[in-house]
């Protein structure tokens, strides 16, 4: 959902965030493909491997998945049941959308809060994910992603509510 009807400063901020999310996602996927391929070549032809590459690949899956989930929130592409919403008439649709958006914002806020507590706890315990990478750094994608997903749904809520009130054209 592109920012519309928003103050220019906020719209610009959203664009910057979107750009950063995209760059990070694409960079990490590229790194994943190259690293995984290099690892196989080395293993089969040189009978060696990069230290820690397998651990890093597993972690990249988590990061790519959550950055992908953030992108999915932007485009409303999370897995959902649309058997009912598909048939809703006119204004009822944005109203129902606004309701489910509000619910999603609430759940994301709680998940973000618990993730922050988890990250803080692992910072205190000083546990390592692998090598010299602490768990709190590896897991920081969780609170970040839930905050970003929550914000996207807040934005969707704003637009859907305006649509339901007739202040914006229907999608």
């Amino acid at each position: 959902m592109t920012p519309r009807h928003l103050p220019p400063a906020i719209a610009r901020l959203i664009n910057i965030i979107t750009w950063t999310e995209n760059v990070l996602l694409i960079f990490m996927l590229a790194l994943m493909v190259l690293l995984a391929a290099t690892q196989i070549l080395l293993r089969n032809f040189a009978h060696t491997s990069i230290d820690g590459a397998d651990d890093l690949l597993r972690l990249l899956v988590l990061w790519v998945a959550f950055l992908g989930a953030v992108a999915a929130s932007r485009e409303g592409k999370h897995i959902h049941v649309d058997a009912v919403a598909r048939w809703l008439p006119g204004r009822a649709k944005p109203l129902v959308n606004a309701l489910t958006d509000l619910f999603t914002v609430g759940v994301c806020a709680m998940l973000a809060w618990e993730s922050v507590r988890y990250v803080l706890a692992s910072h205190v315990s000083g546990e390592m994910a692998f090598g010299r990478l602490p768990v709190w750094v590896a897991a920081i994608i969780l609170p970040m992603a839930f905050v970003l997903i929550g914000l996207r749904y807040l934005l969707r809520l704003y637009h859907h509510a305006r649509q339901a009130l007739g202040m914006e054209g229907l999608e």
């Binding site: 992108a71 999915a72 485009e75 999370h78 009912v84 489910t100 999603t104 618990e114």
Partner: protein, 427 residues
Amino acid sequence: MLIVVGIVLILLALLGAPLFAVIGAAVLLNFWLEGTNLTVVPLEIYSLAEMPVLLAIPLFTFAGYLLAESGAPQRLVRITNVFFGWMPGGLAAVSLAICAMFTAFTGASGVTIVALGGLLYPALKQAGYPERYSLGLVTTSGSIGLLFAPSLPLILYGVVAQQLNVGRAVSISDLFLAGILPGVLIVVMLAVYGLWQRRGVVQARTPFSMREALGALRAAAWELPLPFVVLGGIYSGFFAVSEAAAVTAIYVFIVEVLIHREIRFTALPKLMRESMVLVGAILIVLGMSLASTNYLLDAEIPSRLLGYIRSHVHSALGFLLLLNLFLLALGMMLDIFSALVIMVPLILPIAVGYDINPVHLGIIFLANMEIAYLMPPMGMNLFIAMYRFDRPMLEIFRAVLPFVAILATAVLIITYWPGLSLALIRH
């Protein structure tokens, strides 16, 4: 009170709330009621980073998006036409085989309908197949192939089943082997139906041309080895699943982007993002369901359900029949990935209680989902086909009905003949 909350959550899900949020809310609530520290939820989600096999999901998905975006579908169809177009029923049979292979590689059934359906539909009509049959075949094309390696649903079933520790190993390579014969059964049954459709049609078939054959072979020279390398590698045990995925991703990238140059570098970022949107949407639901599985096992819910169902359903056969009906209804509402991560943790322990092999259950589960995709009035492929081929819904319903009937027969055979799924697994 708890029942009210449960109903509200189901209602929200039906109204279109994202499933990860619905499951997340249910998990948070249940752990909170138990008095468990809620950081267990992010802890469980973080365990996504501790499963090596998950690496296969982003890599295969990326490769699938590259393949679908490139000219590979056109080249596949060209080859099919040359080598099998002259045989009676050949085009239908090979269209089915190609669609199955393509779905297995791209993992998402919609992609097959969009990428291949649009090419096969006119080709089938041109070759003299009835309009209705052609429409039915391309709509069905999206669901066949889920049982063949390296389909994402098979991998995901393996991942979820391994989390459950049901006492029997569920390895992904066993699942890949188990899917072969049932998958072949479905393709063969549909192909025979295609042959029967063509009965009595006397029409000048495209004669076989050596020149065209060589041209088609040369055009697809780079893509042809791919299935052999990947499937051969996985089935022979040379590659782990995630390694095969890495090989596929880099190979497809080199062929389609660097050699054929059908995907521009400037188009790559969008394609990468779109493929990872699908991956993110699947894995965030999986993450939530890891947490909910943990809760379900803690609260011994599967074993209580088993006790309840056992007191009503006495035989494994009865249970399987109920399961078939249940999965069909479920598959119309949920897409295959959420159906897998939500229902397998509940169903698998019960099935094991009835002494059903977990690998066999996986094949039954996916075979049922293949039909559910097509089931009027709500199957997902019907809508995709409606948009793609621009046909009214009722016409598509009518076109797929015979296919649904054939698939249903196949599913019954697969369900009640475990040997078909388990024959290839060595013990």
